[in-house]
Symmetry: C2
Subunit: 357 residues, 2 copies
């Protein structure tokens, strides 16, 4: 079943570092505040790290968690569950969207099978993308009728995510992203957002991979049924993850909690990562100080989730693919923001006049 | 004075290629339309090129035009004109924001002095960033009282821009950006936007590098005076550029016109590039098929300019630095979009089920 999960203390953003970063931004050869949100990003990154970075993030990695969902049996996705395994194989072979984006920017992908239904025996670990085999079970149960998993299984999934964060931190990773693969997982994420953002299924459920009106109505009904049956509570995040979560969603939650404990800033992908972030904040609110929202997903509930998190998205490109694609795009902006803070000349060093008079 | 400018025929976006790109996007291993605006970008890029690209843009370059403005004497900028030359030196030394962003993504900068007041004798051409010395005159006249330059000078500036586009095209550049450096040039750009977007100075003038309320009031008055004095016309773009334009703005306009003639897609930086794009479209409306708006600048008139162009910005990060910084950030998105179209596996090649049933 795997190790128990330990919730380590999570520091807040460092206000002294934030202030120093803000002050240093005013020394750089540009009009004050002319880099807008890139300045905010560099300041937030610095405050999360707890120190002014001296260089761009040395190592950047995307943790990509995969799992299957028993609730797929309810006809809530446009794709069959077998696509989860096929997409993992596609990631290993370098043909997935996330593969292309990671390759062009030199970000490592750590692909983690935490609960894919298929054994993935035919999927070799690639020299470029390691496949971490950490399967807790072959997909969740259909949470319309039964809890998705046991509390012990949810805890084991948290521990898988935490281990990945530990390893990245130990390996010198200074900027992470988090994404997922899992057919039907927007249904699980919608249920979690209902719990943690206190929202209604009809305001949170979206079309996921592209279901029609009837599919959307089924999805809303399924989420409503599950919330009624299990009565998951905001003050029991482990119970909520067990009841209506997913193995990859719980692993993402554990990843976020442990990354934050290490002061490792994490760029969230879309709706699924938003849901995991809400779960993580229910365990420990200071997690949010170490999170960056990449984009506003086209999935309906994303806005509610991000508003509850208080994280403004950097991009709004109508993405709804998942896999960490949005996270990778936004990691470029974070990297650029930190590079600007670290590498730009100052007015003093460049001999540029600071203002008129 | 430089060569005369020739307006070459400018092709439209190729509708057959656009259709083929849209169809191919549906074959890629992702839910239909799940890459949102990145799909639109790849399709627009393909249609501009007139062919489905087989690989990411091989060579990417940012054309950075610099010039000074006589209207700076009216107190419309927070910085003295000497900062234009100092910032060019900063770009050559690698300490400017644009230098940092270009370095981290491997985009070349072509810096062009088309009208800096300083001789730039102390600024060496760097091995990394060539300094193109194409000065037409040492800054413009103060257009509150006199035309900024003669029609012949404006035409020579157009020709400088066109020559840079010719060279990039001949050198295999497949994606360009355009930016500028020039103290007080948002005043000139505001005047041009008033002409080409038929807007009022008070709706277009912004705070530029950070002027106070009194400075903004002066700027609005100066633009109003200039429009009254010179009566620049939308159907005489050369005359408008001569009356209230700038040397770098005219060069950017020539660059856009010639790049479009070569089917070389150009990512616009902020408000200045938006103004040049409006001028270019007044010469030849099909230019717009080859333009990509990087971001919505924080400068007040940017929204009006982009709406008139009909170009939705990709980013909205409250940038107002110029130098091509926004263009470089968005060139990453274009590059990513094209890479995704070229490198993702198809459902057939990856053996992934396309839909349920």
């Amino acid at each position: 079943m795997g190790a128990a999960f330990r919730l380590l203390p999570i520091p807040s953003a460092d206000p002294t570092v934030a202030q120093a970063a803000r002050a240093y931004q005013l020394e750089l050869t540009k009009p004050a505040r002319s880099l807008g949100r890139l300045e905010d990003l560099a300041v937030a990154y610095s405050a999360s790290r707890g120190t002014l970075p001296s260089a761009r993030p040395a190592r950047r990695a995307l943790a990509l968690f995969a799992g299957d969902h028993g609730v797929a049996a309810e006809g809530v996705s446009a794709y069959p569950s077998s696509v989860t395994a096929a997409m993992m194989a596609n990631v290993m072979a370098g043909g997935a969207a996330v593969s292309v984006l990671a390759r062009r920017t030199g970000v490592e992908i750590i692909a983690v099978d935490v609960g894919v239904a298929d054994a993935l025996e035919a999927v070799p670990s690639s020299p470029v993308v390691p496949l971490r085999r950490a399967k807790i079970r072959t997909g969740t149960d259909n949470f319309r009728h039964r809890p998705a998993m046991s509390r012990a299984e949810a805890e084991a999934a948290l521990a898988v995510g935490a281990t990945i964060a530990d390893e990245l931190h130990a390996g010198g990773c200074e900027l992470a992203g988090v994404g997922e693969i899992g057919i039907a997982n927007t249904t699980s994420a919608a249920a979690l957002v209902c719990v943690f953002a206190e929202a209604r299924p009809e305001d949170v459920c979206g079309r996921g991979t592209g279901i029609d009106d009837a599919g959307l109505a089924r999805k809303i009904a399924v989420v409503g049924d599950a919330l009624g049956r299990h009565a998951p509570r905001r003050d029991d995040p482990l119970g909520a993850l067990a009841a209506v979560g997913g193995l990859e969603l719980a692993a993402m939650t554990g990843f976020l909690l442990r990354a934050a404990a290490h002061r490792l800033p994490v760029v969230l992908d879309g709706f699924l990562a938003n849901a995991a972030a809400l779960a993580a904040c229910a365990f420990a609110p200071t997690v949010v100080d170490h999170l960056i929202a990449s984009h506003l997903s086209a999935e309906r509930g994303a806005r509610i989730a991000l508003e509850r998190l208080g994280l403004p998205p950097l991009l709004s490109l109508d993405l709804r693919l998942g896999e960490g694609t949005g996270a990778l795009l936004a990691m470029e902006l974070v990297d650029a923001a930190v590079a600007l803070q670290c590498e730009m000349a100052t007015f003093a060093s460049a001999g540029v006049a600071k203002k008129l008079d």
